[in-house]
């Protein structure tokens, strides 16, 4: 085992230049960190765009940008956040870092494919960014690329589509890798009933990645072909049907929201038992509900199309299925809360973020029910109510879980601890700023303010001003959080191998983990939440 002060897998080798040592590494931990850095960078880019959007919306009429710029801004904000941050986020970064460690494997099943995934992701991101400065200017379609607008706008949509296609490919390869890894590389004794819940959630996610992403791929290809040679498959003038595009798009993009949330739920399921010092309540139900969400979630895409001109029969079916998919989410929430019962709860930063997740995700999910109901969705569809809903689930849900994961696992990865007090303050500011930002958005949506509106009527101003002010509070909190984490990772006190006294396998290793994490597969003797066994394999 490694000696004190060892930098583990972070240790530079002297064989080749440092940079190459990283960007061509096939070690899952290094690839995980590559993802973490790139995902983090795009998050900051997306966030900056979000702040600009809010600034524009602080008052009716032109404020800081032209209408065309605004349209490009929210398109880019959506594309960056969805495809570059939230979808690859938790699986790419923490999945890669922790999945093999948690199941006691030496690495993922296909390490080189793993590196290829990251490179494809970077290539796609690079193309997405290039699309801003080349061709007919930044894409202005919204992240949904609805036809016929997207097939005729002169902006540089084709390149953005190609970028999305490539990033999708990267996502598929990650999925293939994870499913294979979980099936084949579990350490002896790590049977399915002992898989950490984070692994279960990644397993369910990976299946969605494998089976739904290709549909997005073909949709992007069709749209590109449409733009290049005008096949007319979605063009009503040539016998095509624009609504079919929406079906194809959402066949992927609804399941994609579960690609975003399932790993986040996995993180929360890891953290809550550790900080409540109690085994998860209803391990089996949580594991099964991950799979159920993945399966049922693939069948509800039509709820994005209630006012699209789709048939009423389809509305009936999709509305019913949408309501059903809420059930496994409810089961998870109840199980998390029940885990707290009679525990010994300590409110350290990871736990604070996890608890905030439960609250904010519940708000987001419950507003999802309003959207899933056909009658009410007619009113709030394409308003800021929807914008509020999805920021609650994506940022309040996945975003907060991502922050929780940072606070939970970074001490493992870097071997150093951040400042707890600063982290707690940052959490509080973020929590307040978040609600200040997005709650008014939902209200203004209920009053009828449509989304993707550069300019709005004066009666909507008050709530918009509050939201914009909230974005500044949120910005301050995020800044504090990142600075604190950064300083902690550079100069913090040594964290020790198991600062939280958790029982999953990654905590058995030193912090940072050695380059050869489990060269001998460990013999696993207990479940992931047998906290008395913490520190033993």
């Amino acid at each position: 085992m490694a000696k004190q002060n060892d930098r583990g897998f972070l240790q530079a080798s002297d064989r080749q230049p440092l940079l190459f040592d990283w960007i061509f590494s096939v070690d899952h931990k290094r690839i995980g960190l590559l993802y973490l850095y790139s995902v983090g960078a795009f998050f900051l880019a997306g966030v900056a765009l979000g702040v600009l959007l809010r600034l524009e919306l602080i008052a009716p009429g032109p404020t800081i940008a032209t209408a065309q710029t605004y349209n490009a801004l929210f398109t880019l904000h959506g594309v960056v956040m969805i495809f570059l941050f939230i979808i690859p986020g938790i699986p790419g970064a923490f999945g890669n870092l922790m999945l093999p460690l948690q199941i006691g494997a030496r690495d993922v099943a296909f390490p080189r494919l793993n590196l290829l995934s990251w490179w494809l992701y970077i290539l796609g991101a690079f193309m997405a960014l290039t699309s801003l400065f080349s061709g007919g200017g930044p894409p202005d379609t919204g992240w949904t690329f609805y036809v016929p607008f997207s097939s005729e706008t002169p902006t540089n949509v084709s390149l953005a589509l190609l970028a999305v296609f490539i990033i999708g490919f990267s996502s598929i390869l990650t999925g293939v890798n994870f499913v294979t890894t979980i099936h084949r590389l579990r350490a002896p004794g790590m049977h399915w009933g002992r898989l950490p819940l984070f692994v279960w959630s990644l397993y369910a996610t990976a299946w969605v990645q494998i089976l739904a992403t290709p549909v997005l791929g073909i949709t992007m290809v069709l749209l590109m072909v449409e733009r290049l040679i005008g096949l007319g498959l979605f063009d009503p003038g040539r016998g095509g049907d624009p609504i079919l595009y929406q079906h194809l798009f959402w066949i992927y993009s609804h399941p994609a929201v579960y690609i975003m949330i399932l790993p986040a739920m996995g993180v929360v399921s890891e953290i809550i038992p550790v900080f409540a010092r109690k085994p998860t309540f209803g391990y089996k139900a949580i594991a099964a509900s991950s799979v159920a969400i993945a399966a049922a979630g693939s069948l509800v895409w039509g709820h994005h199309m209630f006012v699209s001109g789709m048939s009423d029969t389809a509305i009936l079916v999709f509305s019913l299925l949408t309501f059903l998919v809420a059930i496994p989410s409810a089961v998870k929430v109840f199980n998390w809360v029940a885990t707290l019962y009679r525990g010994s709860i300590s409110l350290e930063p990871p736990m604070l973020f996890a608890l905030a997740f439960v609250f904010l995700f519940s708000i987001g999910g419950l507003t999802g029910l309003i959207l899933g109901s056909a009658a009410t969705d007619v009113h709030v569809h394409d308003t800021h109510f929807v914008v509020g809903h999805f920021h609650y689930v994506m940022f309040g849900g996945t975003g907060f879980a991502f922050f929780a994961a940072l606070h939970y696992w970074l001490p493992k990865v870097f071997g150093r601890m951040y400042n707890m007090k600063a982290a707690t303050i940052a959490w509080a500011i973020i929590f307040v700023g978040f609600n200040l930002l997005y709650f008014p958005m939902m209200l203004v949506g209920l009053h009828g303010m449509p989304r993707r509106y550069y300019d709005y009527l004066p009666q909507f101003q008050q709530l918009n001003v509050i939201a914009t002010a909230g974005s500044w509070v949120l910005a301050a909190g995020l800044l504090l959080m990142f600075v604190n984490l950064y300083r902690g990772m550079r100069r913090g006190a040594a964290a020790g191998s198991n600062p939280w006294q958790a029982a999953t396998l990654e905590w058995v290793l030193t912090s940072p983990p050695p380059a050869e994490s489990f060269s001998q597969p460990p013999q696993v003797t207990h479940g992931p939440y047998d906290l008395q066994q913490a520190g033993k394999p």
Partner: protein
């Protein structure tokens, strides 16, 4: 870092990837199904204009190439490396023939103005435009897969030749063959759906 050599894992990974490919074409089959339901007569009229002979020829070619690659794998496993190489050559050859046929077929369509923007197609009913639109993307995407598959097999042929894929370690060939069979599988559906509509 050494790769973990696990044939079962490699094969599982390949199958998962093939599922992905299946769903990729699945999107096109979805469009096909919807538009067939909407424009049955136009689809039949469109199908009549495809070359049944070339289509059937290509079907036979692909099925045969599927056989040769399966035989190549068996040959390698039985230690008959020379035979394996020959069979792989045959497979690659068949794939090239397939592509030539496809090219001839597409060329004929272009000559007749049956392409998006072409004179003949522009005059026809909307349903036929959709049919030919789908025909071109579907066969185009499939052709691309044939090309990729052929390149893959060619590479594996090199590996078998240089002794890096062997009787003991045939995983690469197994996976290459799996990919090739998928290409065949997709065609097995494309053929009746496009060429045999009457």
């Amino acid at each position: 870092m050494t790769m973990q050599r696990d044939a079962t894992a490699a094969r599982l990974g390949m199958w998962l990837f093939l599922f992905s490919e299946l769903l990729l074409f699945g999107g096109l089959f979805l469009l096909y199904a919807v538009y067939l339901a909407r424009y049955p007569a136009d689809f039949v009229a469109g199908g009549r204009q495809l070359d049944l002979l070339l289509g059937t020829g290509n079907t036979i070619l692909l099925i045969t190439s599927s056989l040769t690659v399966a035989l190549a794998l068996s040959a390698l496993q039985q230690g008959r490396r020379r035979l394996c190489l020959g069979l792989l050559c045959a497979t690659v050859l068949a794939s090239l023939l397939f592509l030539v046929n496809k090219g001839v077929e597409w060329q004929a369509k272009f000559d007749h103005g049956l392409f998006p923007g072409g004179a003949r197609l522009e005059e026809t009913a909307p349903g036929q435009k959709v049919f030919f639109g789908l025909y071109f993307v579907t066969t185009g995407l499939h052709g691309l897969h044939v090309l990729i598959g052929a390149a893959l097999l060619l590479w594996i042929l090199g590996l078998v030749g240089s002794g890096r894929v062997t009787e003991q370690d045939p995983v690469m060939l197994e996976n290459g063959a799996l990919y090739w069979h998928l290409v065949d599988l997709i065609w097995i559906f494309i053929f009746p759906l496009y060429y045999l509509l009457l």
